[in-house]
Amino acid sequence: MSTPPVQETSPTFVGMPAFPKAAHEALANTQQRANLHNATHTIRAKRASVVAEVPEWEALRVAGADAKDEALHHLGDYLEQLEESLTANGAVVHWARDADEANRIVVDIARSKEVDEVVKVKSMATQEIELNEALEEAGISAWETDLAELIVQLFGDRPSHILVPAIHRNRTEIRDVFLRQMGEFGRPAPADLTDDPARLAEAARLHLREKFLRARVAVSGANFAIADTGTLVVVESEGNGRMCLTLPETLISVVGIEKVLPTWDDLAPMLQLLPRSSTGERMNPYTTMWSGVHEGDGPQEVHVILLDNGRSHVLADALGRQALRCIRCSACLNVCPVYERTGGHAYGSVYPGPIGAVLNPQLRGTASEIDQSLPYASSLCGACFDACPVRINIPELLVELRGTVAEQGGHRAESAAMKAAAWVLSDPRRLAVAQKGATTAGRLLGKRTITKVPGLGAWTDARNVPSPPTETFRQWWARERGETSGTQEEEQR
């Protein structure tokens, strides 16, 4: 059996350049920009209309945030409860500190079943730990079965969106890759395939069906893990998840420890918040819930790997821990004006967009160029906070993370400039002196249009500079009203 083209164009996100550099390339990709603009605006409008029809939306957001906070504030207790309930239900619980541990557990289970392939339900956690690559190294093919993940896999590409990972591709590109690649890994696409969405879906369905029916092991994540009942929940739209979660004999679920919810009742707000926020649907088409093993029904061996991989580090930060509420709906991506223009790859992670700009430096630390640049990849416009169904204050977290980066001394010139600005602004006399530079320039330049200022190329490459005035406001006030502050009088004497 051939192995899927696991991200052959760019094996991983490791060594990604800083965001502005990656964004430069993304901005020049006009096809991608058109695709992104259309897709984000479509989902944005759908979400806005289904959210608007829920009068208690704000109360739901609070309920969702509260349920997650309750779980996070007592995470140890709820995880132990989850382990107990899962075990009582016949599941096997594994704990993984990091990606390596989690990958090793999955590979060991797959090997013990003597399989050379697994089918996969779309899962952010397994992408985060690069499970497909680990399986490939062990000689095991991992077949993505979500349509968009299949597209990404056939391209040998990386996902660029949490929910719609092939958002940067259009249907003509998809038809071409189906014709080119599907036959390499299984049932080929029909030769007369068009870019009609129904035809594309049919080709994918036929290609995937033989994999569903053959696979003996499936790998999934989980949207929620209910502590009191020991239930895992997967929410999806295509039915591929249902196939993977019910047909194979063995099911392995990799679940981030922040996915735990205290009680069954906590699902109620979540199942209203998630579909409306993510796909802009009132209810998602397939919600699969399983509580361990049931004889003669579904997988007879159920493994749950509870994954930390940096999450307990995020939990330790009193302000930052709210990012762990994230339910991966991607509403923040769809409303983000930065994401809309750069796409997901520029964020250097499977978590792109505003939540990625927060979560990646939180989970991975701020040692790399890309992780240092991510907190600045935002205009702090606040659209993400408004859209977030669990009220993660992303702008606030970005500002906090900027503080972390600045403390590392990452930008020496900037640090000096901020120090100087603070020194000037902490005293009105110093400010008045500094303002003389502006008014002098204003008098010299008159009404001339300013298109170039040495050292300000980042601004002036595409924008004119406002003409400085000949008199500041405080000079005008002092002249008109004859008022000066005590400190200024001193200076003027």
Binding site: A23, G382, D386, G403, E414, A462, R463, N464, T472, A478
Partner: protein, 256 residues
């Protein structure tokens, strides 16, 4: 309520000009003074004011903003209302100063911040919420489009207050801006740290502005206006940018 019957307020009102306006756009705080005095408000300008510290805070140097927050609460402690012609700076005062005081580990400063910050208003909030006026007696017979800036919209939630004020202006032809609520791409140091994305966002905003056929682009923040206006200027669009205060200060006798 109309301008012929000026609202009487016995509030002690201070103008917070903001450092950018003071230095680069003095016509805006001047218009604010003219407008408020026309409405019967006595405005004081405490000369010891400087800056809210937003630039330091948002760039990751919140520690450097501590002395600025101290100065802010000292300078404005005695006032019933502090008015600023900037949604962004008021947003910083109201939403970020508590965090900076907390960072400073100074409970005294934190309680001073709690005293002062609820009394700090963006101009349209002060006019509509405090003075209870939407018709300020202004006249501006031009085609105008309004860009709601992100911090006034999503931090302060000024809603349609600026539009209520603009709709009451004599002679104005107020045209809707497509994608009005989308960020213009300024974002403080974002404009230079991520200049290309910033310009891509600003170019789309400028295109929407141009499409309205407006002569004048108005907003409540000169920083965003400098960015969009800088792009419009580079395009030689001929569209003038004005702060909300300047349009509201404009009258038939003294047109802007």
């Amino acid at each position: 309520m109309t301008a012929t019957k000026p609202p009487v307020t016995d509030l002690r009102v201070a103008l917070f000009a903001t450092c950018f306006n003071d230095t680069m756009w003095p016509e805006t705080p001047r218009a604010t003074v003219r407008l408020l005095e026309r409405l019967g408000v006595t405005v004081e300008f405490p000369m010891d004011q400087t800056c809210c510290g937003q630039m330091m805070t948002n760039t990751g140097y919140a520690g450097k903003a501590v002395p600025l927050v101290r100065r802010f609460v000292d300078v404005f402690a005695g006032y019933d209302a502090v008015v600023a012609p900037s949604g962004s700076c008021v947003g910083s005062v109201r939403e970020q100063h508590p965090m900076i005081a907390h960072l400073a580990g100074d409970p005294g400063l934190a309680s001073q911040v709690e005293q002062v910050r609820p009394r700090v208003y963006e101009l349209s909030e002060f006019l509509v919420d405090v003075l209870g006026v939407t018709d300020v007696g202004a006249s501006f017979p031009h085609r105008v489009t309004y860009h709601p800036t992100c911090h006034s919209l999503r931090m302060l939630r000024v809603g349609d207050k600026p539009l209520q004020l603009l709709r009451a202006v004599r002679g104005i032809d107020l045209v809707e801006l497509e994608g009005a609520e989308e960020c213009c791409g300024f974002g403080g140091t974002f404009a230079v740290k991520n200049a290309e994305v910033s310009v891509a966002m600003g170019t789309d905003k400028a295109r929407h502005v141009t499409d309205t056929g407006a002569e004048v682009l108005v907003a409540g923040d000169n920083s965003c206006l400098a960015h969009i206006g800088g792009i419009l200027g580079r395009q030689h669009s001929g569209i003038r940018r004005m702060h909300l205060a300047e349009i509201l200060a404009s009258t038939e006798e003294d047109p802007a």
